[in-house]
Symmetry: C2
Subunit: 211 residues, 2 copies
Amino acid sequence: MRGTLNKELVIRLLKYRRILTQLKSLGFEKVFSNNLGDAIGVAPALVRKDFSLLVLGGNKRGGYNIDYLSEQLGLILGKTNEQKIIILGMGKIGTAIAQYKGFLQGDFEVAAGFDVRPVGLPESLSLKVYPIEELAAFCNANSIQVAILAVPEEVATESHKLLKDSGIRGILNFTPVELKTTPNCIIHNINIGVEIENLFFQVIRNGLSGA
Amino acid sequence: MRGTLNKELVIRLLKYRRILTQLKSLGFEKVFSNNLGDAIGVAPALVRKDFSLLVLGGNKRGGYNIDYLSEQLGLILGKTNEQKIIILGMGKIGTAIAQYKGFLQGDFEVAAGFDVRPVGLPESLSLKVYPIEELAAFCNANSIQVAILAVPEEVATESHKLLKDSGIRGILNFTPVELKTTPNCIIHNINIGVEIENLFFQVIRNGLSGA
DNA sequence: ATTTTATTGTACTAAGTTTCACAAAAACTT
DNA sequence: AAGTTTTTGTGAAACTTAGTACAATAAAAT
């Protein structure tokens, strides 16, 4: 079953889960496919299809039960709580991500930062920054599997190698260098420059009809 | 022709252009479809298909001419140089992006930052941070079309409205709230939390075969 | 109890995208 | 000059994904 979960579907499921958590905290008990569709920006039929594929049933007029859905999605997606990540490259982007509010909501924890210089640590943050020489030992000792890469472009490739050699199995790459997934290490590239160029292109193409 | 450029294709074209710029600076004159495919992580046949679609020809054994390709991609994608953006929300993420090295390479310029408080400006950065009351006037006076949204989650929705009311036509959204594209304003959502959850899921599913 | 309404579940349809496979052609070799 | 190699260009196939439309059915209303 899980072999059939493609990338886009997984992202939708993660988003459903986030919405469900919010709805639950608001005291809601059930939800309809069009609510979820609206919330994550897809058609209601696709929501139903997704749940149908996962054999998560709803009630013909009562929609879906939020508790049940949350629970089942938890089983399928796994609990990410208590998962730990490290950040390699504690420059502006790295430290910003370390303090990202979304992480404080209990999704996962930044276990440590690493940099060439053990510097620039904002005092308010209870996060230690170690020199990169200690990366492999730390990852090993703490079973770290996932890392954020936020080093300067010039050292992206060598940092990538370093992470792989430290046993890291997944990297969220914020450098502009396009890293490639291998059987041992999954890469997700976030290229902010390309994202903005892309946005400009879409905006210009979209024209000024409404301005 | 441009109507046929879908989202993924545009991203590939932007990536080709970046690679070509790098190759040119290294003194290369021609490039093969497999080089470009390797560089951006797609099959060579797709590279050729892309260029074929855009009627960008290569030489049957000599590959593609880098200068020509660069020039033509420039015509298709538009020059993003000299484009200006603003950042709404000058917290950690906002200021980090303002200082992002990739932007300094001349792709575009951060014209100003905006925040509820005109505070926290790093002195080394020649960027002014204005109170949000001035947002609409500034965007109007400077013809700003694209913005980065990096405010706290709680004020994401109202900030979104504010940007639209200020004439912004494209938003790169770093808040966890899923904003939706409208005819007048294109949204690209970057949800770091979801990205990390997704990475964890892929890593766990991928198993530990190589560790 | 019957009718109406709202919503799920899914077979079918449609569209889009990537990969495959190979002919065509240019450049190089002998 | 003939043959060999390399690389493009592309039609066809395969795959994937999303959308449509409607039957089934549960709940609500009368």
